[in-house]
């Protein structure tokens, strides 16, 4: 079950940061507001003192202006007196006029009414001055001055007590401001912890599926294809990634399984084919074996030889013996190693048989370095060369054919040279044979059954070298085949001597 797509990582992160920022903003606004309030309160502590000072100052200026006016009758001074009077009236209007038990407030009431009395006196004095009634304005000024003194005294006393009270309040406020600062710091610290905690938690939640995905990917990288990516149900991009990864790993698994099945199927086919081929060969062999039992043949031939001996037919006896030897050698497994001497004996047998068959047409001559007779070599090699020389060289020519076989040492090699005086090989055919392209030409028909390609391949494999044979047409007519065998008893320095006639 897949969770519905809720919010992308970006939305989640934005949500965290926006909420944290907003919270921090609110707290900061609060701190700003509190501190501002505290500072305003501190500022306002002495406002009453300032008010009283202003009152006192205005009173003083008013009194001064009154005195100046009474002294000089200057209209400027009268004007300034009225200005101050207006200010003063405005100011005293703010004073308390109710009868309360608080001494400061009660003093304000006294100041208010005394101020009114003072203003009445000053007004009377100014009127008297206008009327040039000297004694009256003198008296009025005297009374005003007296009340002025009382007023100043009252204002100053109130100012002092208010100041004392305010100083107390001020120090109280200062202490509270300190508390406020510490509280703000603690608040900010708390907010910071909450913010950090939340961010750590949220990012942890976001990162956690990533880690799980990475762990699964690592496990898969180590070769464990059976690991599933974790099912992430956060509903964000990671869910998508995890889903896609799971699909991918599933596809890979299916692909690998299919590949494996294909491979196994092909293997089985090849195996089947091989078995079939094997079976066919085995069948052929069995068929051949079933045709002639070689032992029966040798024994029969030997029996024939003895019979010929007893009847005094010596030539027939030798012929049959040669036949028996030839087939015995032939029946040997071709994979078994032979020696050069054994091969030469087979050639002798073969030539004898041919000469009997073809009434001594083939003139065979051999020159052999006796020391090389024990050189090991694959069997049925030289006889095949001789057979080719007879079949393709001598048989199709007029006159007496001649085959010359020489065995000599050439460097590290034992060199076997077979030369005939037949029609000579076509150079293109010779190249074809060397390239191993000649098929089983004319095999099966009057042949021992082994083609040149077979001979060459066996020699190459046996000595594990490419250059084992040379075939060339002789200028005087005929073909020459040279085989190079590894000789372990090396006779260096001796040149290859052509013993051919």
């Amino acid at each position: 079950m897949r969770a519905k797509r809720e919010a992308s990582i970006r939305t989640k992160l934005t949500e965290v940061f926006v909420i944290v920022s907003f919270f921090v903003f609110v707290v900061n606004i609060y701190i700003f507001y509190s501190q501002n309030k505290a500072i305003r309160q501190i500022d306002s502590v002495y406002s009453h003192n300032i008010q009283l000072n202003e009152l006192s100052g205005t009173l003083e200026q008013m009194q001064d202006a009154l005195y100046q006016y009474l002294n000089t009758k200057s209209s400027d001074k009268l004007e300034s007196y009225y200005t101050y009077e207006q200010d003063y009236r405005d100011m005293i209007r703010q004073l308390n006029t109710q009868i309360v038990s608080e001494p400061d407030k009660l003093m304000e009431k006294n100041i208010y009414y005394m101020s009114e009395a003072y203003l009445e006196e000053t007004e009377r004095a100014i009127e008297a001055k206008r009327g040039r009634n000297v004694s009256r304005y003198n008296e009025g000024y005297g009374k005003a001055n007296q009340i002025y003194g009382y007023l100043q005294s009252c204002i100053n006393s109130t100012n002092a007590t208010v100041f004392l009270n305010n100083s107390h309040n001020y120090s109280l406020l200062r202490t509270k401001l300190d508390y406020l600062i510490w509280f703000s710091l603690a608040l900010l610290l708390g907010v910071m912890l909450v913010a950090v905690g939340w961010i750590v938690m949220m990012t942890g939640n976001i990162i956690k599926p990533f880690k799980e995905l990475a762990d699964a990917a690592n496990e898969i990288a180590k070769g464990n294809m059976e690991v599933d990516f974790p099912d992430v149900e956060t509903g964000d991009e990671i869910s998508t990634v995890s889903g896609a990864c799971n699909k991918m790993i599933e596809s890979i698994r299916v692909y690998i399984r299919e590949t494996k099945e294909n491979y196994e199927r092909e293997n089985k086919l090849v195996e089947k084919e091989l078995i079939m081929k094997n079976d066919l060969k085995e069948a052929q062999l069995k068929y051949l074996q079933a045709q002639i039992n070689p032992h029966f043949l040798f024994n029969s031939l030997n029996a024939g030889a003895q019979l010929a001996m007893m009847e005094g037919a010596e030539r027939a006896c030798i012929f049959i013996e040669n036949m028996a030897d030839f087939f015995r050698y032939n029946v040997r497994n071709t994979d078994q190693d032979a020696t050069l001497g054994e091969e030469l004996r087979l050639v002798d047998n073969y030539i004898y048989i041919l000469n009997v068959r073809f009434a001594g047409d083939i003139h065979y001559e051999k020159r052999v370095d006796e020391r090389l007779l024990h050189t090991p070599m694959p069997s049925m090699i030289i006889q095949s060369i001789i057979e080719n020389a007879v079949n393709h060289g001598i048989r199709e020519m007029e006159g007496a054919g001649s085959i010359c076989l020489s065995v000599y040492r050439e460097g590290d090699f034992a060199c076997i040279q077979v030369a005939d005086n037949g029609k000579g090989i076509d150079s293109q055919v010779a190249e074809k044979i060397l390239r191993g392209e000649s098929a089983h030409s004319e095999s099966g028909r009057d042949s021992a059954g082994i083609g040149m390609d077979n001979v060459i391949n066996r020699l190459r494999r046996y000595y594990d070298m490419e250059h084992v044979i040379d075939i060339r047409r002789l200028e005087e007519g005929g073909t020459e085949v040279r085989l190079y065998l590894h000789s372990h008893n090396s006779l260096r320095g001796k040149d290859c001597v052509n013993h051919c006639l």
Partner: protein
């Protein structure tokens, strides 16, 4: 994981809420503390009448008790009695304070008057302004005051006289005592204080029966001088004419007298008859340093004055003379006064 996420979010919401609550609580606490910071011990009631009470020595303990009595009574009836001039830094005379009170248009004035003409003028001026004036402790005769509140000074003098006679008799019994005891009466200078004059008259009347047994004399103390009382008493005690009996007619004089007697080791040699029942005086009576003290109930006096003024303000009529009873405190009955003083505190002091 989703579950854990929800729990975490819930936790964070709770912590945020707690922080916000702390902010709100801090705000409320701050405001409340601010209100406390600016609060004074005064109540916020608004009174109907403003009565100024002007004494010759506003810082005197006796006067403080009188004022306290007046203030409490006034508050109960809706009139605030102000100890006028107490909050001022400068010292003003009673007349100046009268002038100030008139200028401040108070509703009524209770003043400890003196005999001077100035006082009469100011009282008349106040009456002209429609401010009723009541005198207390000492009178301003022939002025337009509405009433006078006082103990009966003559009767007080007679009590003093009897106490003096008693003391003289006690001394007479002692061996080697001179035939005529020297009696000094401390009177505030200038004889302005008519009350003390009346008291002295009462004393003379009371002791006139046996004038041969004592030499009655007055010692004047200049009340204008701040520390005059103590100096005068010291000079008297250490002087050649050391009195045998010292009669004090004010609370301050009493304290100065017994302090001096104790300091110069004159206990038993000088008999002190005191005035007012301050805590210290009561204590000295108990110890036998002061023979007796005569006291007017100061709180009662204040109360009588305030009630009288309130009656006048509301009914425009009050008796011309409002007497306050006096009490004699001796070693025999001092215990109950000390107890009473302890119960009421210094506020309920008696004269």
């Amino acid at each position: 994981m989703v579950q854990g996420n929800r729990t975490g979010k819930f936790l964070i919401a709770v912590v945020m809420g707690v922080i916000l609550l702390a902010m709100g609580a801090a705000n409320v606490i701050w405001d409340r503390n601010m209100a406390l910071g600016q609060e004074s011990d005064a109540d916020s009631a608004v009174y109907q009448y403003h009565i100024a009470m002007i004494g010759s020595s506003p810082y005197d303990e006796f006067w403080a008790s009188v004022y306290e009595g007046a203030n409490e009574t006034g508050k109960a009836c809706g009139a605030f009695v102000e100890n006028f001039g107490q909050g001022l830094e400068a010292d003003y005379t009673v007349e100046e304070l009268m002038q100030m009170a008139i200028a401040a248009k108070v509703d009524g004035i209770i003043v400890e008057a003196d005999k001077g003409d100035g006082m009469k003028e100011w009282i008349d001026l106040a009456a002209g302004e429609g401010i009723p004036v009541m005198t207390i402790l000492s009178d301003a005769p022939n002025s337009s005051r509405i009433s006078f509140v006082s103990g009966n000074s003559y009767a007080l003098g007679e009590v003093y006289g009897s106490q003096i006679l008693e003391a003289v008799q006690e001394r007479g019994r002692e061996e080697g005592a001179p035939k005529a005891a020297k009696v000094a009466v401390l009177i505030n200078a200038g004889g302005k204080n008519s009350q003390q004059g009346l008291i002295y008259s009462g004393i003379r009347e009371a002791v006139s029966a046996s004038p041969e047994r004592m030499n009655l004399s007055t010692v004047s103390i200049d009340s204008q001088g701040r520390f005059e009382s103590e100096e005068t008493v010291r000079n008297l005690v250490l002087g050649e004419e050391r009195p045998d009996i010292l009669v004090c007619l004010s609370a301050v004089d009493t304290i100065s007298a017994y302090q001096c007697v104790v300091d110069y080791n004159m206990v038993g040699k000088i008999t002190i008859i005191g005035y007012y029942s301050s805590e210290e005086t009561l204590e000295e009576i108990r110890r036998g340093v002061v023979k007796s003290t005569i006291s007017i109930n100061a709180g009662e006096m204040g109360k009588t004055a305030a009630e009288g003024m309130y009656d006048f303000l509301t009914k425009e009529h009050v008796s011309e003379y409002l007497p306050v009873a006096s009490e004699l405190i001796t070693l025999e009955n001092v215990g109950s006064y000390i107890e009473g003083a302890e119960k009421e505190g210094i506020k309920g002091g008696r004269l």
